[in-house]
Structures are given as C-alpha cells and as structure tokens.
Amino acid sequence: MPATLEQSFMKALFHGVIAEDMIFPFPETPKEERENVGVMLDTVRRFFNTNVDSKKIDQEHRIDESVLTGLKELGLFGLQIPQEHGGVGLSTHSYLRVMQEVAGRDTSVAVTLGAHQSIGLKALLLFGTADQKKRYLPALATGEKVAAFALTEPGAGSDAAGIKTHAELSPDGQSFILNGSKIWITNGGFADIFTVFARTSPAEEGKKPKITAFFVERGKGVTSGPSEHKLGIRGTSTTEIFFEDVVVPRENVIGEVGKGFKVAMEVLNNGRLGLAAGCVGLSQTLVKMAIERVQERRAFGRSIGDYGMIKDKIAGMLASLYALESMTYLTASMVDTKADYSIESAICKVMGSETLWSIVNETLQIAAGIGYMQDYPYERMLRDARINLIFEGTNEILRAFIALSGMAGPGKALVEVARAMREPIKGFGLLSDFAVRKARSMLGRERATRAHPLLSREAVIFEEYAGELASQTEALLRKHGRDIAEMQFAQRRIADEAIDLFGIAACLARTSRAIEKRGEEGARREIDLTTVFTAMAHKRLRQNASDYQKNDDELRKAVAVRAYQDGAYPFDLL
C-alpha cells in the first residue's frame, strides 16, 4: 500500500484502512487561541446586534456601505491573512469559527466575506509568491480592496475544461492579453481584484486545455454586468464580469502557467470548508429558533414541543448538526496539519448544505403559518440557505468527486497488483502488502480501537460499513474498471456511504474525547447525539449497501431517457 495513503483519512478508508491516528484524539483548540477567538466572537456579536439588519439587507438587495466599512474596520476581511501582511492570521479552525458566527447572523454578509477570502484571495495565500503577497495582501486584509473568484462561465462550471476565456502572451512576453467573460461572480459589482482562470493554450477539439490562474485588477477592459436578481442571499453582489483586451502583467500569474486547474481545485477544496462552517452557524441559529418556537406555541392545551412528531424533528436536527459540526472542525485540523483533506471538505460541503436545508425546512414547518410570512425571518432564511446546495460545486458534482477520487487509490492499487503479478519478483513488496491487507480483510475487519468503549455499538457499525465501502469499491472496480467514471448510480451510493462513515467517525472521535474528559454523565449529550446520528446513518448505509445488488437503476435510466424523448410528463387524466 502506498505510504501517502495515510495522508488522507477518507482515502485510506476506501482501501479499508481506518487511519485512527488522523482523527483521534479529536483536535482541541489551544487555550490561548480559544481566548482570542472568544473575544473576537464577542466583537462580532456586538457588531451584528447593533449594526446589521438582515431583513433590510434582503429587502434592499444590498449591504449598507456603513456595514461593510464597519466589517472592514474590525478586520473581518483579513481573517486568515498573516499578521505580517496586516491580517488577523487565524488558523483554519479559528477562521471557520468566526465565519460560523457571521453566517449564523447574516448569510449575505457571510457570503460576501467568504467570496472575498474563502475563495477570492485564497489562491494568493496558497500559491502566491512573496512578492505577490507583499503587493496585494495588505490592501486585501483591510478590505480597502475586495477580491472575487472568477471561474464559472456559461459553458464551464465544475467542468473547467470548457473554459473559453483565454489569455495570450504578448509579443514582448511581458504580459498576457485576457479576453472573455465570467458569470455569477460573487462580489462582482465592486471587487477590485479577481482570481481569473483562463486557457493559455489554443482550443483544440478533444484536447484538454491548459488553464492558468491570474490576478486581474479592475482597470482598463474589465467591466461588470448588472446585479443578478436572486432567490436568496440578496445582499450579495452577483454579476457577470467581462474582460476585453485586458493587459495582465506576467508577474500576476498565480502558480505556474498551465497549472491553473490545480490552483482552482486547491482553492475550492479549501473554500468548501468555509461554506460548511457557515451552514453550521445558520443551522445553530435555526435550531435555537425552533426550540424557542415549540415551547412557546400551544395547541390543544399543550406546547407543541410536547408532541412526539415535534420531538422527533428536534432530535434529528440536533444529531445531524452535531455530526456536521464535528466533521467540519475535524477537517479543519486536517487543513492545519497539512493532510490531504480534499474528500473530507467535499463531504462537509454536501453534508453541511443538506443538513442546513433539512433544518431550515423543518424549522419553517414547525413555525407553520408564520413560517411562510415575510414578516418573520423563516422564509428569508430558507431562501438564503438554498444556495449552499448549488455553489462551489453542486452536490451532485461533489458526490461524483467524492466517489471517484476515493476510488482512484484502490483503482491504482489494483492496476499495480495486476502488473506486479506479471513481474512477480520485482513486485514482491507490493504483492505482499496486498496479500496482508487482503488477509486482514478476510479474517476480520479493521478496528476502530480508539473509540471509547461506551461507543462500542457505534464503533462496530462504523467498522462494518468501512469494510463494506472498501469491498464494494473493489468489487465495482473489478467489474467496471475505468467505466466506473460513467456509473453515477453507483457513485451516488459510494459517496453517500463515505459521507455517513465520515460523520460517524467524527462523532466517535469527538464524543470519545468528551467522555475521557467529563465521564459518562458529563458527556451524556454527546453520547446520545452520537447514538442518534449513527442510527440515522446506519439506516442509510444498510439501504445503500443492499441497493448495489438489487436495484432498479436500469429501469430508472430507461424511464428518464423515454421522458427526454417525450419532452414532458406524458399523461393527462382528462
């Protein structure tokens, strides 16, 4: 097994290996950082309480200039920019915690801040040269300049190969001439600096283009379209951006020429986590509203919180929120320890947006009539929450990503094993590795030995389905080989299993730490939420596992294809 495998908890899991050392003990914030962030959160809360009116932002479709100025003065535009460049210099963990707080108070503000620093300037932080950082970061840290991330085009979203915007080296070789346009750019109306992805190779049929990332300052040839009218996050500025013969100096290339795809992926891997933290924040606000509402509202002489159907909803909300929060901050520590967290952050984005969507939907349902009225915040929060399932990679794209990038490792290993079998002597090491792993998975499953004994039932479910994920992966790869890239029904199941397994793993790690620190009674809440979440996940895991064998995938495909031909729902009962 390749040594690099252990750099990613989820990638290892696809091999059937439970890399416990990567999640146990659950990361703990150092005391000093906790204190600092505590004071920061206090600042954020006070600022939002006195200055931010979400209803007004939603109605006026803009965030007041004075609010933006206030946010800038507080340093909220430079959260992860190093202190030497005028930022706050927060770790990923602390950054997420602050963004969680912001998103819990106003989604438009959170998305504006996120577009600026979760993705807009992230390429500079991750790939910028010392000179680029010195030139741009100080003004970005204070918010004097605002950043935006410009990848999407009408024909290219997650499919970056479809990018039409192109940059050509000028005759003197000193600059690139940029032409093209980008759509749905958050902060597009006022951003000063754009991270732009453009092709730097001629368009050739059937050939992957070379993509390069650039910093483009607003200036000659850069124009914004009008603000889009949106379902939610109405205070954010979303526009088209046009580039017409824009001269971009060569020193504004981010990373290497032709390596822009990698830049985009790294930025998005990182950015998705900010989005997950935002989902945690908004979910917490909603859960609080729901709990208050069910205790206030009376029906048939009792508060509705007394009724079983409501209790069932509240318990489900709490358990999935607990899992989401645990996964998000576990992944944050993976970023800070420089592990490979690409699958984990995609999982957090999918889980975050879907947990939030379910919580906002249930909270509105609990509020019932008033939930639907514009005089109350529920409908706005529902509209605001909806975007999370779409942007920074739709959840469908991300499920394919989770499945395929998880299966890539085992796929490669299988190919190598096949090759090694043809050259048995040279490949001896590899074969014996493979044999050991194979024997281990035949004899018994990988164990999650570091989970607290009080969680042994949950740990067994995790172990069982970790084994299931690995054997299913191997079976699919053996059966379909490269064609797995086309097998989206299977990808969806694999991804859902991976999401649930990561959720259980994060709960096991966090709750084990809680029990060790505070004992069984002290950690009662965590234990119960872990049990409830694991039971919810277990049902889905069982279903997915059995669906590999017995399903109606082919029939559903046929129904869809026929519908495409029919062009509409084909019946009328008239």
């Binding site: 000093e32 600022f47 340093g75 909220l76 430079g78 202190q83 005028g86 706050v88 602050v98």
Partner: protein, 275 residues
C-alpha cells in the same frame, strides 16, 4: 494625559438566571457563570480612550490608558479585551473575588494610584452585580482628590476637565482639576459626550463603546499585563462588609383573574393587605 481605569468583571447580566445559590446560602456559586465586563466600566474605558485621542484619528494615541482589575487569573480575559479595545497597559491585582469589598478595593486602588500617578482615575459609577456605588467616592476621599460622580459629559481643558452631571431639573457642570477621580454614567458614550482638546467640537462619535478589532485582539497579547499582589497594595485586608447569607428572590406566583372591582378591593384588603 494618563488615565487609570479600574474594571470589574460581573456575571453576565443577561443571564442572571444562571446565578445559583447552594442550599447553605453561604455563598454564590460562581462555576458555570458567564463573565462580562461591568457595562459602566466599559463606558469608563471608552471615555478614557476618547480623552486620549483625536476622535477622527483614533489610531494615534495621545497619553496612556492603564486598566486594572482585582481577581483570580481568569479575570485577565477582561483585561485582554480592554487591551484589544485600546488600553495601553494592564494590571491584575491578584485576589479572591469573595475576599474583597468596596472599601478594601478603594484602599488598594489608593496605593496603586500613588504608584502610577495618573492624572485621572475614570471608573464606572457602580458595578451591576453588587450595585454598591461606593469605590469611586471612597477612593477620592482617601486620596483627597477632587471628585465628580455620574459624569454624563466630559470636556478636557488645560489641567482638568469640565464634567456634566445630570441632576433633577437639569445639568450641573463641575470643573475638576487633575489629579481627580471621575465616575461615569451611561450617557458618557453618546456621540457628543466626550471631547479631548484634540478632538474638533463638531466631531461626532458612534453611539456606544467601540469594539475590539480582530487584529488588535491578536496584538493585545504583546501589550504588558502585570500582576500585583493585593498584600503589596493593602497591608490590612480586613473587610468592612460581611455577608451573612444569600437567598434567591422568591419565585413569582402565577397571577389570578378577579371577577369584578368588589372582588379586587376585597382581595387587596384581605389577601395582599395593600389597602
């Protein structure tokens, strides 16, 4: 100008129901309480910052603001927050919360003032936990300094302050010469309440206290925070106030509906004995 601002942490007044009293009634249970700076002390800090700057360029500091608190190690969080907000230096007088009273704090502050020699001691009119409203007055008496209490406005002038206090029927303006003790009321953080000699008379502050900017919170770690033993400031640590017991206010009974006015009068007379 050098200003000393005493700060006290108090149990979060918005979460007063978290205050628990054990059955013995001997003390107040402090574990699990959330602590906040006393709001009036925060106002004093804001006023001190306004006095040591030009309102339109607050990043350039003119003078020194020193904050001091009494309490265990955890109270340093309150001081760090004050440093992040703009204070220059902090002092923690190591003491146990329940071994202090207003008189002892004032005596210790007197010794500290003699060491630090500030031009002005600026403090909240009272802390919102005990509501004693006495430390400022005792301190001024002990130091034999001029004093103005419940300040609603302050205007710096050469060698002193013009202090406005709201009194029944109007505003009284006092001229105090440095060194002095001033305690502040909530109006002191209104937009036009405090003017240093550098701040233009037409300048208006934001209403309320300023918030600590996030980079300043990180930078506050580098600002000096000294620890002083209470014994070094007050040889006699005797208390003038002794607490005999604590009890929670009785839970309110549910109200009742009265039939008519006769019933009401009847009940007021016989049950409530209010008539």
């Amino acid at each position: 100008m050098k200003i000393l601002v005493p700060l006290k942490r108090v149990a979060d007044p918005d979460n007063a129901n978290k205050v628990k009293i054990p059955a013995s009634g001997a003390t107040i249970e402090t574990t699990g309480l959330e602590w906040k700076p006393n709001p009036f002390d925060e106002y004093a800090l804001e006023a001190a910052l306004r006095l040591t700057e030009d309102g339109k360029a607050p990043k350039v500091r003119a003078g020194e603001v020193v904050v001091v608190t009494f309490g265990p190690k955890e109270t340093e969080t309150t001081l760090r927050a004050a440093l992040a907000t703009g204070a220059d230096r902090a002092i923690r007088v190591d003491a146990a919360d329940d071994k202090l009273d207003g008189h002892l704090v004032a005596r210790a502050l007197k010794a500290l003032v003699e060491r630090e020699k500030p031009d002005l001691v600026l403090m909240g009119k009272q802390a919102v936990d005990g509501d004693s409203n006495q430390v400022g007055q005792i301190l001024a008496e002990q130091l034999d300094y001029p004093m103005a209490t419940f300040a609603a406005t302050m205007k710096e002038e050469a060698g002193g302050l013009l202090v406005g206090r709201e009194v029944d029927g109007g505003v009284i303006t006092l001229r105090v010469k440095f060194p002095a003790v001033v305690t502040v009321d909530l109006r002191i953080v209104a937009p036009t309440s405090v003017y240093s000699m550098k701040t233009a008379p037409a300048f208006k502050y934001n209403d309320g206290v300023r918030f600590a900017a996030l980079p300043a919170i990180m930078a506050a770690k580098k600002k000096p925070l000294a620890e002083v033993k209470l014994a070094d400031l007050a040889a006699d640590q005797g208390l003038r106030v002794t607490y005999h017991g604590f009890q929670a206010p009785p839970a309110r009974k549910a109200g009742i509906k009265v039939k008519d006015v006769t019933d009401l009068v009847n009940r007021l007379k016989n049950e409530a004995k209010a008539l």
